[in-house]
């Protein structure tokens, strides 16, 4: 039942997100609004319940269904990925710009994100304490 309750809750939040996105004709897709609403709800809920946002259960309905659905997240991309079959001509004609944009774009994204993060951590002097506990 835990899984079903959790899934129902996820769908309710998605539905609210879709509703808000449509109603205000926002550029943010419904599931993202649903995710933000759920995150805020969790903050408020645990603040009221425990007086502390850091205390949280590991086996409640929501966590159970979320980890079930997220543990094989990559499976969910397959139907969209098979859609490549429809764009074979475009990929054949423009394979070089597409591959270059994907590979170089990914390298730039990762290098820039990591670089900015390391730089700011150093400037704000928070580099070591977030990872020290995991050093073996």
């Amino acid at each position: 039942m835990k899984f079903l309750y959790g899934l129902t809750l996820l769908l309710i939040y998605q539905l609210m997100g879709e509703g808000i996105s449509l109603f205000f004709s926002l550029s943010v897709p419904g599931p993202v609004i649903g995710m933000s609403l759920l995150f805020l709800s969790l903050l408020v809920f645990y603040k009221i319940k425990n007086g502390n946002v850091d205390k949280q259960p590991q086996d409640d309905a929501l966590t159970t269904s979320a980890s079930a659905i997220l543990s094989h997240l990559s499976l969910l991309f397959i139907p969209a990925g098979v859609g490549l079959i429809v764009h074979v001509d475009r990929l054949g004609d423009q394979w070089l710009p597409i591959i270059a944009a994907i590979v170089l774009g990914s390298i730039i994204t990762m290098a820039v994100t990591a670089g900015v993060m390391l730089l700011l951590n150093r400037l704000l002097k928070i580099d070591e304490n977030s990872q020290s506990e995991n050093k073996i």
Partner: protein, 239 residues
């Protein structure tokens, strides 16, 4: 094939059940192969599954629309899965409080520069307008990328395919790139992978290290939100 077999095939091949089942069988087999290979990134289960399924569809002369009538039940779960990202994000809330500022700035810079550089590289190498537009949200998780593609006038189905290619690329190159750049901090590595390679990168990060996975999930959730807010504006500025 005799005629009885043929009519069974004709019946089953037009039912969603067959294509849903085939997708799951192929993914389970690809995942098993990946585990047997000790998580060799070249045997990425998503890439292997997509290549196998495309070959299967070509061999059986099956239309993508027909395939999708079954596979849509898996595709549908991307929506609740996006909502579910709130939970790993919330589980990292105490760490998030410490690093939220540098993470937010790093993710926004990564999202913007990643999208702009990809569009320019594609433009410079001669891609047409539709391809350039469809490449802009390539680092965003599929359902949201498709939503953004629709809003900016790109092809959602092409974007979805590019998103998956980007995720696989990120999962493939991340370990090499980080060792070349000398980055050792797992939270930084996770954030970078999550921004560049969304869910497929996050799946890879979780296999490498639990902390890296959690931060990748966090970065994916935050970058999804930031992309949805900023990319439509950036695209209007670029085109």
């Amino acid at each position: 094939m005799n005629s009885a077999n043929e009519s069974i095939w004709v019946y089953l091949s037009t039912s969603p059940l067959l294509w849903l089942t085939v997708t799951l069988i192929v993914y389970c087999a690809a995942f098993q192969l990946y585990e047997w290979s000790n998580a060799n990134p070249l045997l990425n289960p998503v890439a292997i599954s997509i290549i196998s399924l495309i070959s299967f569809l070509v061999l059986t002369k099956t239309d993508y629309q027909l395939y999708f009538s079954g596979a849509q039940y898996i595709h549908f779960l991307l929506g609740p899965a996006t909502v579910a990202l709130a939970i790993p994000l919330y589980q990292q809330v105490s760490k998030l409080k410490k690093i939220w500022f540098s993470a937010a700035v790093a993710i926004t810079t990564g999202v913007v520069l990643g999208a702009v550089s990809s569009v320019f590289i594609a433009k410079w190498l001669g891609a047409d307008m539709l391809t350039q537009l469809s490449l802009a949200p390539k680092s965003v998780t599929a359902p949201v990328a498709m939503g953004i593609a629709e809003k900016i006038g790109a092809l959602p189905s092409l974007t979805a395919a590019l998103v998956v290619m980007t995720g696989i690329t990120g999962a493939l190159i991340c370990t090499v790139l980080f060792s070349l750049l000398g980055i050792k901090d797992n939270s930084v590595k996770g954030i970078a992978v999550g921004v560049a390679a969304h869910g497929i990168g996050t799946a890879r990060a979780f296999q490498l290290n639990a902390e890296m996975g959690a931060f990748s999930g966090l970065a994916m959730a935050l970058s999804t939100l930031i992309s949805a807010l900023t990319l439509p504006w950036i695209v209007t500025l670029l085109f």
